[in-house]
Subunit: 519 residues, 2 copies
């Protein structure tokens, strides 16, 4: 029922004309990679497979559809009530694979009625996951392998479920953890849930007398030793409420003390208070975790913080200061990560929310779902916009690799053509520009899609896991040439068609397009 | 559980320090209206109230939290398991009201532990609804009152639930219908579900012999009469598969025939085929609905289509041609609507997807949730960025109206101050710039917030309905001065503070901000 009304009206029209059982093929693909880049990550397949498995109209769905299409006879609802995905075959590219324009991410084969009905839902289940996984992968590339990346976007997500999908697919794209508790609960060990405290926690304290502990408790030791260091370092002018908040938080999380230090004055108060409590914690054998910056000049503050840590490490001969995390989390996007790389900074982890989960730079991917063949007749859609012309007929897709094992290009061929072979020259053509041709002699050839669902067995090859998909993203990014990953003006990655497909497409195009008569 | 981890860690730290029952006040507000405009629509309150009503940790939630905070003692989980929202009082501005920066949309009062826990969820439930409702309202303003606006965004929404929220809140913002079936099913009569057919439907037909009907049926008459008109008008060169698809669709939906005419050649084939089937339908007393354009120059095509309809109305003396809808649906955004207004076009309805639901122009609103008072002590958060300084303490908000009944400004005063009165001069100040002051003598004064939830009764005043909220948006937009609604450079709407609040804020600010020592 998570679908557009026109899928139901079309389904009824097909059924009424007796065409709902015609054998058809649809392809789901996109035309342009997001965010001005060249790469896109295939994602969302896990939820597509669950959806196919559970697809069924309930009786309450059917009564509602009866209201929408009141003239349809009872036998149409009998047909709908019997519909499942057991008549379908679905091919897909594995989750976590880098994918490129016009290559089918999913190919759906089966009766026209059910294939058409699935359009909107499949698009919904693929579009946003691909987009946000790609965004996360780009953030990972921008930040570098050595940084910890945490997703903090739930509060700005587009609906509660948008927040859940974002958390899950950001992990797939290369993030280390999320602040989203429900994501951790549902997804289990694959997802680390992280979080410390907010400004409100610090603000809620005013004076040291608000934190009291019984003698002999951890809290008592922390407070006592903190005050001793405060006197020793002559840091009595820091914010007292903030210091109270840190002592209280350290008492609750002695082995995971990570403090937000910018509520009042980052260097003048927050940093000093953190150091006092850290020294106290270390005295009773707990290692503090680090600090978080949520405002101001992140490069400058992080460097100053690191300098102070180094100074303290020397002054007190305490090694833990060298290992403290510096988390930054104020309005970070891909561009900020790129800029920070060029500056001196000492940030070790980033907490990223809004710009990551809403995909600020481009909030939708634009996958489409197109009919390419029906009863063995290839279908084409003509458009005044050449980019929207459909490559007709059932196809197979391959990735051709060079001697260095990096991909040279992706290739579409007709279903019955022989695939390119290792060591043999293969003519690859631009689908629309006739002069653009290249001979490729591949060192390796990879078939991109395989069957993930069939009528008999349901899911084939198991549901993709988060950790498996995440590993695949990582290895795929390592494999591709760096210039395709560049932030500014990446080298275009070629998607070609075979000579046979080129000729077939252009003949069908000429046959279908009207010749205008001018007078 | 739809929350950030740090709410749980803070809650535990409050509980461990015995501070979880401290009486606290939080405010939820935003700092900047979206989309470069001045207006924002309050939305999402209905789901906030449902959430407060249902808030409760399940035993499986508690076991998962135990994994996350392994050192917490059993009594903490006893506390969590007993938590409900029965100790809270929540004030809110009514759903559908125009709202402005810094005015609290929600004020939450109650014990610190539970108030803090709600932060992320409340932000998630308010941020996106306000954003997408505002977007829909702006699209409505751009399109004009006389156009039909349909939301087609499900396939590009950020997650399935994002699609549902989008459909619901676009209706609140001023849309007439949606393509989203599940939205219609769940939301009932307040939401009209609309849809016809896609290009795939047209492409799935090739020849006229594919559509056959028994004599005496509607379909038989439609086909027979269509072919008669085809000969009469000498339009034998249109695409035969398209004509077959239209006949088939008209047979299924004779009283709701709306055809997508741009699959092959909009004016040369699609329009002609639509006219042929329409004439046939009219002959057997069904009135066709109209056409949809999904590509090309929408202004030009719609004008040409309207001209042809006018010509046909005259040629065949059929009035229905004047009443046909012209629906446009290709990548429409607010800017396109504004541009179309300046051109000659004949579009009567717009189907809008991606740019509406993903809020392309600004995909997140940026509401925040801040502690403003605890145990009667006002709280302030200092920031190097003046826009981020918090206005401390519990407050009340008012809207002051001029003699023409349009709002002059919004005003924040301290909780115990007397509100401004009708006919009396009241000094209103900019919260941060001391020289900006204005005396307002209001003709009407409206208190903006009222209690929507209390511990004893739960929801107070009922859940906001879709139709009620939609009406409110409409009347609020009528009430505000047009220059605040302008697309380019709208006049800023003032949000002021009372003189007492100004002085209080600035004294607290001076007291809290450190005086730097330079040497």
């Amino acid at each position: 029922m998570l679908t557009d009304m026109y899928q139901l009206t079309m389904c009824y029209a097909y059924w009424k004309a007796g065409r709902h059982e015609l054998d058809s093929s649809f392809e789901l693909f996109f035309r342009k990679p997001p965010f001005g880049g060249e790469i896109t990550v295939m994602s969302g397949l896990d939820q597509v497979l669950s959806f196919l498995h559970n697809f069924k109209f309930t009786s309450s769905d059917l009564s509602y559809i009866k209201q929408l299409i009141p003239d349809a006879p009872p036998s149409f609802f009998t047909y709908l009530s019997s519909l499942t995905c057991s008549s379908l075959t679905v091919e897909s590219i594995p989750q976590g694979t880098l994918v490129f324009p016009r290559i089918p991410l999913l190919t759906i084969k089966g009766p026209l009625g059910i294939c058409q009905l699935l359009e909107t839902t499949l698009l919904t289940l693929i579009n946003y996951p691909c987009l946000v996984t790609t965004n996360a992968a780009r953030f990972r590339i921008a930040a570098g392998e050595d940084k910890v990346l945490l997703e903090f976007g739930l509060r700005r997500a587009q609906g509660p479920d948008g927040g859940f999908s974002a958390s899950k697919y950001c992990i797939v794209g290369g993030f280390d953890g999320t602040s989203n508790v429900i994501a951790g609960k549902i997804l289990g060990d694959d997802v680390q849930v992280k979080g410390t405290h907010a400004h409100a926690f610090v603000q809620s304290y005013k004076e040291l007398k608000e934190v009291t502990f019984e003698e002999g408790t951890i809290g008592h030791s922390i407070k006592e030793k903190t005050l001793k260091y405060r006197e020793e370092l002559n840091w009595g002018d820091t914010h007292e409420g903030e210091l109270s908040a840190f002592i209280s938080y350290a008492d609750a999380f002695p082995s995971n003390f990570l403090a937000l230090i910018d509520t009042y004055d980052t260097l003048g108060s927050g940093l000093k208070n953190f150091i006092l409590v850290s020294l106290a914690l270390d005295d009773i054998n707990y290692k503090p975790t680090g600090i978080r910056l949520d405002s101001g000049d992140l490069a400058y503050f992080s460097s100053e913080v690191r300098k102070m840590f180094t100074k303290m490490a020397a002054q007190y001969s305490r090694d833990f200061f060298h290992k403290l995390m510096i988390v930054a989390s104020n309005d970070i996007n891909e561009n900020v990560l790129q800029e920070l790389k060029k500056q001196e900074h000492a940030i070790t982890a980033f907490g990223i929310g809004t710009n990551l989960v809403t995909c600020q730079k481009q909030p939708a991917l634009g996958c489409v779902y197109k009919l390419v063949e029906i009863e063995d007749q290839p279908k084409i859609k003509i458009s005044q916009d050449i980019a929207k012309v459909l490559i007709p007929g059932r196809k197979k897709s391959y990735r051709l690799f060079g001697a260095d094992n990096s991909p040279i290009l992706d290739l579409l061929i007709r279903e019955n053509e022989s695939p390119p072979e290792v060591g043999q020259r293969f003519l690859c053509r631009h689908p629309f520009e006739e002069q653009k041709r290249v001979f490729v002699t591949p060192s390796r050839v990879e078939k991109l899609s395989s069957i993930v669902w069939d009528g008999k067995n349901g899911v084939v090859g198991g549901l993709p896991t988060i950790s498996g998909s995440k590993e695949r993203v990582k290895s795929q990014i390592k494999m591709i040439r760096g210039d395709h990953l560049r932030y500014h003006n990446p080298t275009p990655y070629k998607v070609s068609v075979s000579d046979a497909l080129f000729k077939f497409l252009h003949q069908l195009w000429l046959d279908s397009a009207p010749v205008l008569e001018l007078s």
